[in-house]
Symmetry: C2
Subunit: 620 residues, 2 copies
Amino acid sequence: MAVEVVSRDPITFDQCWLGTQRLPEATVHASGALAQTIKAELRQTRGIRNDVEVALCILSRLRESPLWPEAETALPADGLGDEGFMVVRRGNQLLVAAEGGRGLLYGYFYLLRYFEWMTADFTVVERPAVPIRMLDHWDDLTGSVQRGYSGGSIFFRDGRVVTDLTRVRAYARLLASIGINAVAFKLTDDLSDLARLAAVFREYGIAVSLSVEFAADPSDQQVVRRWLAAAGRAYDAVPDLGGFVVHAGHPAEGANLLARALAPYGGKVFWRCSGVDGRQDWRDRRTDRARAAYDQFIPLDGRFEKNVMLVVKHGPMDFQVREPISPLLGELQETAFALELQVTQEYTGQQKDLCYLGPWWREILQFDLPGPVVAERTDAIVGISNVGDDPNWTGHKLAQSNLYAFGRLAWDPAADPISLLHEWAAATFAMDDRTRGELVSIMADSWRTYERYTAPLGVGFMVAPTTHYGPNVNGYEYSAWGTYHFADRHGVGVDRTVATGSGFTGQYPEPLASRYENPYTCPDELLLFFHHVPYDHVLQNGRTVLQHIYDTHFQGYDEVAAMIDRWKAIADRFEPAVRENITPRFEAQLANAREWRDQVNTFFYRLSGIPDAEGRLIYR
Amino acid sequence: MAVEVVSRDPITFDQCWLGTQRLPEATVHASGALAQTIKAELRQTRGIRNDVEVALCILSRLRESPLWPEAETALPADGLGDEGFMVVRRGNQLLVAAEGGRGLLYGYFYLLRYFEWMTADFTVVERPAVPIRMLDHWDDLTGSVQRGYSGGSIFFRDGRVVTDLTRVRAYARLLASIGINAVAFKLTDDLSDLARLAAVFREYGIAVSLSVEFAADPSDQQVVRRWLAAAGRAYDAVPDLGGFVVHAGHPAEGANLLARALAPYGGKVFWRCSGVDGRQDWRDRRTDRARAAYDQFIPLDGRFEKNVMLVVKHGPMDFQVREPISPLLGELQETAFALELQVTQEYTGQQKDLCYLGPWWREILQFDLPGPVVAERTDAIVGISNVGDDPNWTGHKLAQSNLYAFGRLAWDPAADPISLLHEWAAATFAMDDRTRGELVSIMADSWRTYERYTAPLGVGFMVAPTTHYGPNVNGYEYSAWGTYHFADRHGVGVDRTVATGSGFTGQYPEPLASRYENPYTCPDELLLFFHHVPYDHVLQNGRTVLQHIYDTHFQGYDEVAAMIDRWKAIADRFEPAVRENITPRFEAQLANAREWRDQVNTFFYRLSGIPDAEGRLIYR
């Protein structure tokens, strides 16, 4: 099919954290496609006059480097792996070494990120924590983005892939710079379009997977043949396709059907466990959506083909601002799985409200299940992307930090999210250390601020149905989604105990099961997720549940007001376009926080009849 | 512009209440366009062999009739007016007489409706209660219908008037048969299209008005010139255009600007008072949407041009299943006004739930303000149409009865709505008297049944936002629409008293103001509209507010269940297409009633903690 030129405005967009860095001249001792990418990068980023001699070198040619002895000493016994790299500096010699092109590419971006700070001799070895670090894209072929808050799709428009891939290439570069090596998006009918997209991502070491819907009968031989043919066509077009990311469908049988279709090509099936049909009747207290993924998939553990990877949301519900860890992550023994996080702020402010998610993801990744932490158990980390075709990619300029932190944490789940913020801010804005420190300080706790002014104590939802922005305390209370708080005149929360509730706590290993089962050992921030308690129940923090709700809602609003004041004090140090992007969003966030504060407080005041202990204004 | 032929399925549709009636041969002693319509009608409907000699005759030719002496005696001193008629039977002579074509047309349809029952000598004189009986249409030019629940538009498709006007002509005939003499719909750019539509309606004595949006500055001379030109073009295309129906805008000045533009052509401005901007903050207890129309328009009374007619919703809010009468209807002294009713069931079940609105409209029309009842004060009655291009016009076959009753009540506001149901059912279905009686009995109280299972005691809303179908008790509680119930652990309702509330009761004349001001004299069914009362407040019916809520919600559901049982017992006497239309709608209604019952009961149980006195199941 002839390529139709779609008339569009010239593509202009933000460089994010790759706008300012420069390197000295460097030599590349490697060959192949990724080495070409590195050489092109170096032409683009060189510009520092510096007496350091920089070399990027694959291990097989390492003896050519003057740093060979130091490098050899530092080399791990099991090597660097396909994606690892080392950086060694001695005096005016600086070496980046890797086993192959991908490691070297990540080494190059490491250099680009840290070169300015590399002022003394040092040796560093980096290897990614998990082999697959993916961004999933919910872009429709029409050009809209489901749960997207940053404009339209950068991939699709009017049913097909955009003609000009300049922006896709810039995106691939941004992703590679933070260690992402996989993306997924919808399958188009035109496989040459798919091949064009895959070629752009391939330049940056990123494998493309295809999102597919699967709801057919996997025992139907026609279905089997159709998927065998589809796999064949896809791999004809893109021989290094990562695989299929599957939404919904029959488990096990469907996953295995697809796995067998992809196995000959080395492809994987990423089977999203959120496809579980969680519809229920609000009157039915025996059914508990939180149980669903575990109840459905644990019995199937061991029955999947080797190239099936289950994609498991971090929590048992749906990307709320606070959830307990999904027990599935602790109990799958024989099935590979990916941890799924949501970079797009569906329930966390939709890139209107500032909500830096790094600290939340770090908690999840380091969660002790017990035994190995989550990051050590998972075989992949998948994020649902927050980018769109807004000039700044993410709607809110500061939401770029979430994309950055996601990639960096997927590479290194032990990274400190506040250090990542500093890193991101320094690479993104040209500004003095004090201003950067202030910006980071404004952003650092914004996730907990968002938690404070929205649904309290882990109970979740209380959000406007459909849009998922703004408060509606009872909005999901009588829905079919299993998303209830059960607030009445005496108390609030969901009894998920084994003793008297849905039994969900029993899905956890000890000591977590006992800790969550008991309201006096359950962490405060999850209390209402696991327990229905009276309003005068005293939390471990010494406050009653009701007073805590009031306090956090007043506090959350006040924190947003303070964030704005602090922002306004430094705003004139930013470019006008940045200011004009951020300031009105802060104002929208303050209005949103006010609605949340007042609706939540009034709702509970009307139910409980108990006034605020500090006498602050709660509307009747 | 050339008329483009839009390819469509062949138009097939229900004949509603005009499918079965037949007349004997008749002679027409009149001339003119409407006489031609009557003659064509008679060719279509003749078919009864009967020895009665029927004549339709205008007064100027009455001496030709053998019934001249009887007719002359019965003729009112002030004549029959443009639309009135008389029917006289003596022996085998039957005369329909009118002053002109329109009266004769209505006389013809009277004859068609009642001929079978005219078995003895009698004399009847009919004149309509109000001179303008209009159906307003919220059809978009694209072909969708706002608040329509019966398919797409019968007028528009893809931005213009449909090519084949067969169905529009059938609609005009249906409307004329129930006495409607005006319709309104959106202005199209192509005035020849408008002229085509108007010509079809003109055949049935129906004047077309145009719905327009007006939000411009009426003091701007450019705006004035633009509307003068628009009026000129519209009247060039349709010299007998009724006028403009105006949505939103500056009052008085805007209305008068348009009135002056239309005056040279004899056109009217129908100014919808619901255009009042009622947005407010839920925290603000001083603002009351119920007050808005009165507060805005009473100060302007007397300042409108003579050809301005205010269109006033029957209640102060928005077509809820129960509202008090709008005080504007009682207090406008110097301005002509129309009473606006909603035939389309926006808040009353959306033509999924059976809700025969005749009894409700009759209550409104006969409401004692005091002094003249509403129907005697109003200069026009406007209904928002419930028709669309579904084969049966109204989605639910039985919702045809609402269209029928609207027209008949607009003509005769004293008509008994249950007699109208009998009339409609007899004309619509070929069935025995017992079956008809049973159908009428199922339908007769369906409005009160709907009221019972939805928002209680006049408080309104509690409906799913946006869609307005199904329960969401708190759905509008924190909205900007002034639609609150203020339920808390102690009580529920809106204090609109002068003593302690918004003062809305003070907009009524005495004795209504005092009756509504006092919770012990306020009618039960409006108590929560006017008062915030504790749950144990005892109603005039002897029950507490809370027990009344529980009782009516159990009762409402049970009534729907009984309706279905009764329907199923007679369903096989109806044609399959009718059964297959009605039965699943009843089942949907039962599911809806169950949701309403359970969500409302649970909501109030959670708040109050008070169980049902009869121990019925209320979910926690």
